[in-house]
Amino acid sequence: MREGPDEADELKARLAKLRGDLQSQRDGQKEVQRAEGDLTDKGLGQAMSLGFRVLSEFVAATVVGAVIGWQLDLWIGTAPFLLILFLGLGVAAGFWSVYRLAVTPPGPRDGEKPPQ
């Protein structure tokens, strides 16, 4: 009967130690997985797809800006000033898209209230 509380304490201590060990083991595995993840096909593929996205967003915005300016020039007859203006705006739009791509990871904006 005298050993009762001692045994319980010892058991508690051992359980706590086990929990800590398991946790550190789990963390270590997670670290290893993260380190490996960058080198696997998935990491390469995601990096590549992001690269293609940046490239195509930038080129498309520039081209669309230039085409809008060119067509407005043809329509109004102010060649080449609107082409120059809209080419600049297109480049700015391209940088803007790339900036947005880099700053905010695409995800649901559920935190914000959708306007009614």
Binding site: D41, G45, M48, S49, F52, R53, S56, E57, V59, A60, A61, V63, V64, G65, I68, F86, L89, G90, A92, A93, G94, W96, S97, P106, G107, P108, R109, D110, E112, P114, P115, Q116
Partner: protein
């Protein structure tokens, strides 16, 4: 991938040949090899999904695993990108993803035709997606949908420029969406064909034919790479569809 011809023409694989000519009121609506492969892609997707979901075993067989994996993958993509409100577009995104994925992968088989290497196909998809974003955005949010073009916290002096830039950025979306898929598929198939041409040219070049296996090894590596690209581009197409639909569901930055 290379056919016996007088010259090695890497573009030849993209030619559209009518199989059953059909002209309705002066519009060329012939059944071409492109249409044939669209039907094949459609049948392949239907085969996998219908047969895969008909059994519903507790321990799934191969087709059922494939169908369930495709469902889980697209469903998690839609949920992560567009939220739970985006799940009403799940059938649409799933159809697009499966069609593009199967078209890309079937196109990698030699002597087949890659539907997604035609810009008109990818642009039709992209234009439809953006049209749907516009229609749904105005239907759901009314004029508030235009908040998409007005970022908050911009000084009134800069606002006209920012709005113009946002409009150009929005207008470039269908272009970038369609050109990315089309260019990836076109470039990949031309590269494979050119490497195939290297093999045949080197084989007929006397001593240099010893070098012929090198491009062949290149083709093997490139085919594996193209398989990755085929999957990745379908995934990117689907995820960007979700991102744009998310704009329609929750406009305003």
């Amino acid at each position: 991938m290379s056919e016996a011809g007088p010259a090695i023409d890497p573009i030849h694989q993209f030619h559209i040949n009518p199989i059953a000519p059909l002209h309705i009121f002066g519009i060329d609506a012939s059944f071409t090899n492109a249409s044939l492969f669209m039907v094949i892609v459609l049948l392949a997707v239907s085969f996998v999904m219908v047969l895969g979901t008909s059994g519903s075993h507790i321990v799934p067989n191969r087709l059922q695993t494939l169908a369930e994996m495709a469902y889980e993958f697209v469903a998690s993509t839609v949920r992560q990108t567009a939220g739970d409100a985006g799940m009403r577009f799940f059938p649409f995104v799933f159809s697009i993803f499966m069609f593009v994925l199967f078209a890309n992968i079937i196109g990698l088989i030699p002597y087949t035709f890659t539907v997604t290497s035609q810009i008109i196909v990818t642009f039709a998809f992209a234009a439809f997606i953006i049209g749907m974003v516009l229609v749904y955005g105005f239907y759901k949010n009314g004029m508030h949908f235009l908040n998409l073009f007005i970022p908050s916290g911009v000084s009134p002096i800069l606002l006209p420029f920012i709005v113009l830039i946002e409009v150009i950025s929005f207008a470039s979306r269908p272009i970038s969406l369609s050109v990315r898929l089309f260019a990836n598929m076109l470039a990949g198939h031309i590269t494979l064909k050119v490497f195939g041409g290297f093999v045949t040219l080197l084989l007929g070049a006397g001593v240099y034919s010893l070098l012929a296996p090198l491009p062949l090894i290149g083709i093997i590596l490139l085919t594996a790479f193209e398989l990755l690209v085929a999957f990745l581009q379908a995934y990117v197409f689907a995820i960007l569809t979700c991102v744009y639909l998310n704009d329609a569901i929750h406009p305003g930055h």
